[in-house]
């Protein structure tokens, strides 16, 4: 009798400890990054660093705006492509597709999720970049190398596609059949039911899926590094090249460390990425909470 209660206590405290540990890990990473970027923060204010787009490390000028904008553009692009597509695919798979097709297709999607990013990068370079260069860009701009925001967006979209689709299908599957029947039996069509009831009920889950995907897209490195062009200038259109923060880090880490403040600058870029993702997650948490309260 006593032993059971003690076990209960021990397990309870144990889990609490590990939860706190996991959370403080995030905090520790944040503090670590900040601490390592202190040297550059002693020479320039944070605002100076993130509002300037002059990147001349050799002259001691470190402006991160182009990289931050590059990150936002490429991630935004990938979400703009992936989300509508994923929603349609997930709705089709869970509501319309014959079971056999679904059982065949879903595992395939999950295989896609397991392909290493560098392979998406190679595929992007040999397939998407020429496609953008020769077929898409000429209809909009005079000249493009194909190494653009758009190419990065497409490659990233394909990469996060399986994650979003499989989570949304999972979420749609948890909607009780009776809820669907309630709407249908009122004379609603299948599409009205999906739009007004099922998607509404599933909205928190769908948003969570997208948030997860965006967080992943923000930090994706190898693929964007290979297809975005890596030019440190803020993109003005989707046919301009971009230089996202993760690419900056991966390209330069370990090199040119002899340049003064360079390592602190890179640490600061990591810190910026960390903060962007953190802010993004907090905002989406708040939105989620609002929706959940409304739909209960």
């Amino acid at each position: 009798m006593k032993i059971r209660l003690i076990k209960d206590k021990v397990i309870g405290t144990g889990m609490l400890t590990f939860s706190i540990l996991a959370v403080s890990m995030v905090l520790l990473i944040g503090i670590g990054l900040y601490w390592r970027s202190l040297p550059i923060l002693q020479h320039h204010s944070i605002w100076e660093l993130i509002s300037s787009s002059t990147w001349r490390p050799l002259k001691g000028e470190f402006g991160f705006l182009s990289f931050i904008m590059g990150t936002l553009w490429v991630t935004g692009m990938s979400i703009a492509i992936a989300v509508p597509l994923c929603l349609l695919v997930a709705i089709y798979l869970s509501e319309y597709a014959p079971i056999r097709f679904k059982n065949f297709f879903l595992p395939l999607v999950n295989i896609l999720a397991g392909i290493p990013p560098v392979i998406y990068g190679v595929w992007g370079v040999f397939f998407i970049v020429p496609l953008v260069q020769h077929y898409i860009a000429p209809s909009f701009v005079d000249f493009s190398t194909g190494f653009t925001v758009l190419s990065g967006g497409i490659v990233l979209a394909v990469m996060i596609f399986p994650l979003i689709v499989s989570i949304i299908v999972e979420v749609l599957q948890t909607i009780p059949k009776e809820l669907k029947e309630a709407s249908l039996s009122l004379g609603a069509t299948k599409w009205e039911t999906i739009k007004k009831v099922i998607l509404k009920k599933a909205m928190p889950g769908i948003i969570a899926a997208i948030v997860l995907a965006i967080s992943r897209a923000f930090g994706e490195t190898i693929a964007v590094l290979m297809v975005c062009g890596n030019v440190p200038i803020s993109p003005k259109s989707i046919f301009d090249p971009a230089y996202p923060l993760p690419a900056l880090l991966a390209n330069n880490f370990g090199e040119m460390m002899s340049v003064p403040l360079y390592d602190a600058a890179l640490m600061f870029s990591a810190f910026s990425l960390f903060v962007i993702i953190l802010i993004f997650n907090i905002i989406s948490r708040v939105i989620l909470q609002k929706i959940e309260v409304k739909n209960a």
Partner: protein, 253 residues
């Protein structure tokens, strides 16, 4: 049966995959009365009920033959419009499933779909049907609140009101009180008895006392077949078939 049938089932057979769930169903459901479907678990009561508003259509591997005539029109006809058929019947499920929206929008959902746009008309509809199920006084100050915040009994009445708001002719109930406390159950039962003046009501129930309290006719189903159909007292107190006798045995004694 002196009354004209409202739902007329002819040679209905339902298969799902290799399972023969409903076998040669022939039944006339009388107009403006309460008919209860009783029978042991898994005998096909829910399946029979769902066949009346074509909710079986979407089940993978389902095969339906025969006909179900509602107001003389075969709902399984290729030309029959499924939304139109379903609109004719309100469904009250085993547990309440409020739509993920406010109390007001739950009631207004059906009318909106069928084209009612005027705010004033919707307001009247919402009030009218909430009053019809005796929920108005309880919720009139929180119409914009979430429907899931209501108690289970209130939710079930809300679902009934939601079904009534599309002006059906028929109410289908599948063990609609099984999740409710005795008082809520009584409220729903009384409502159904009141509603039968204007609606044809078909209920699935496990509770023979309830079948006796509310229904005029009883259908006894066993292993996918209709064994007996007749006025309530006859089937419950004086069954003709051996199987029915066996099933209602506990009730008579």
């Amino acid at each position: 049966m002196t009354q004209t049938p409202h739902i007329s089932v002819k040679d209905l057979n339902v298969h799902i995959g290799d399972n023969h769930l409903l076998k040669n169903i022939n039944i006339n459901i009388p107009d403006k009365s309460v008919t209860s479907i009783i029978g042991p678990s898994g005998c096909g009561k829910t399946t029979l009920l769902k066949s009346f508003n074509r909710l079986l259509d979407d089940i993978p591997g389902v095969n339906i033959s025969g006909s179900v005539l509602v107001d003389g029109e075969n709902i399984y006809n290729a030309q029959a419009e499924v939304t139109h058929i379903r609109k004719k019947m309100g469904l009250l499920a085993q547990r309440p499933f409020p739509l993920p929206m406010s109390i007001y929008d739950n009631i207004a959902y059906g009318p909106r779909i069928h084209g009612t746009k005027s705010k004033k008309e919707l307001n009247e509809l919402v009030q009218h049907y909430l009053q019809a199920v005796g929920l108005w006084e309880e919720v009139k100050n929180r119409l914009n609140g979430s429907a899931t915040a209501l108690s289970i009994g209130q939710q079930q009445r809300l679902c009934l009101a939601r079904g009534l708001a599309v002006e059906p002719e028929i109410i289908l109930g599948d063990e609609s009180t099984s999740a409710l406390d005795p008082i809520s159950t009584k409220t729903i039962e009384d409502l159904l008895i009141k509603l039968k003046e204007n609606y044809t009501i078909v209920l699935v129930t496990h509770i023979l006392r309830q079948a006796r309290r509310v229904s005029d006719y009883i259908i006894f189903v066993y292993m996918g077949q209709i064994i007996e159909f007749g006025p309530t007292e006859e089937v419950l107190l004086n069954p003709k078939e051996e199987l029915t006798k066996e099933y209602v045995k506990g009730f008579i004694s």
